[in-house]
């Protein structure tokens, strides 16, 4: 392995430099739960990334909650396509932002990569970008797309809850911290 080469390639390609991406916490689901929470998140990073692998038998809206805020302080929009030949579509609801597509089942896990920017900055609202895909549930279940969301709070994000009422065994959620310069 060559860290120098890795850093060079990363700067060219948009991946993280090899010495600035750290694992904070991981949840490996052993039996069905309705949500997963990362709490006591250290404020020592610039950005956060969650890499989620959801095994679920329920098609439902998977949504975030920050710092246990249940009020309507969120908004989001999306761009996604279902592979049916139709154009991708967008919407801009005002509910909690999704952390992944609602098409997962136990055979075809749903994958999401979630970036939470400037999560500890108390001078701005928090923004989230999610890239999510699930290609194989059934003829109506294909999805790939992006979500962009906001939590209208200047509080530092110290906890994140990801909801899906049927989060089954073999689901896996990993929280990473990305350092700034």
């Amino acid at each position: 392995m060559s860290p120098i080469l890795g850093i060079w390639a990363s700067s060219q390609q948009g991946a993280a430099p090899s010495n600035s991406f750290e694992s904070i916490a991981t949840v490996s689901v052993g039996s069905t739960v309705s949500s997963v929470t990362f709490s006591s998140i250290p404020s020592t990073y610039k950005h956060l990334q969650i890499r989620a692998f959801l095994v679920s038998g329920t098609s439902e809206n998977n949504y975030f909650q920050f710092n246990s805020d249940t009020a309507t302080n969120y908004q989001w929009h999306q761009f996604q396509g279902d592979g049916s030949g139709n154009s991708p579509y967008a919407s801009n609801p005002t509910s909690n932002p999704p952390w992944g597509l609602n098409v997962s089942n136990a055979t075809y896990p749903m994958v999401s990569i979630i970036d939470i920017l400037d999560y500890a900055d108390t001078n701005k609202f928090k923004t989230v970008r999610t890239f999510s895909g699930n290609p194989g549930q059934n003829n109506s279940g294909y999805r790939v797309g992006f979500y962009s969301g906001a939590w209208r709070s200047t509080s530092a994000v110290t906890s994140i809850t990801l909801y899906n009422s049927n989060t089954q065994a073999n689901s896996h959620f990993a929280l990473y911290g990305i350092k700034g310069a």
Partner: protein
């Protein structure tokens, strides 16, 4: 906390080749990220193959994207292992993610995005209908050997390790 996003290997082609393969992938990470910056001798789709499985019927994928020409975007699905385009005029750029690649509990998923300038930008989600741990990844032009990856094409494989 230890650094956890590490380069595993980089291949830079010194001459035209049919494909780029990363083999004997260490099983010590949680996810893999493959960054591709390639050019070809013709305009073609790209494919990926896991563990040498060349049967496109063992994969399926959904693609969404747009061309930026003012028309609506597109979305389609295929029972193939395609993920994008490779052109002779402009280098492409793709980032493919292979989560939980050592797991033998479920089919393997890939999500990725990228594009070719003056063509399209696209997002992909793909399934490989196999539960074997991923030990090798190959990327190639769909119509190989008619089209090959040109000299200067680069691919870097990274490993991400969860705590």
């Amino acid at each position: 906390m230890p650094a956890t996003y590490e380069p595993i290997a980089t291949t830079t082609l010194g001459s035209a080749q049919a494909s780029i393969t990363f083999s004997s992938i260490p099983q010590t990470y949680t996810d893999l990220v493959l960054v591709i910056n390639a050019i070809s001798n013709g305009n073609d789709a790209m494919i990926y193959q896991l563990n040498g499985d060349t049967n496109g019927a063992n994969y399926k994928q959904v693609t969404s994207g747009g061309s930026g020409d003012g028309t609506s975007g597109f979305s389609f699905r295929q029972d193939l292992n395609t993920f994008g385009g490779v052109f002779s005029t402009y280098r492409n750029c793709y980032i493919l993610n292979f989560p939980r690649y050592t797991s033998t509990a479920t089919y393997h998923q890939m999500i990725g995005h990228g594009g070719v300038p003056r063509d399209t930008v696209r997002a992909y989600a793909s399934t490989w209908f196999n539960t074997a741990a991923i030990t090798s990844i190959t990327v190639a032009s769909f119509s190989t050997p008619s089209y090959t990856l040109s000299s200067g094409s680069i691919a870097t494989l990274y490993g991400i390790k969860a705590a």
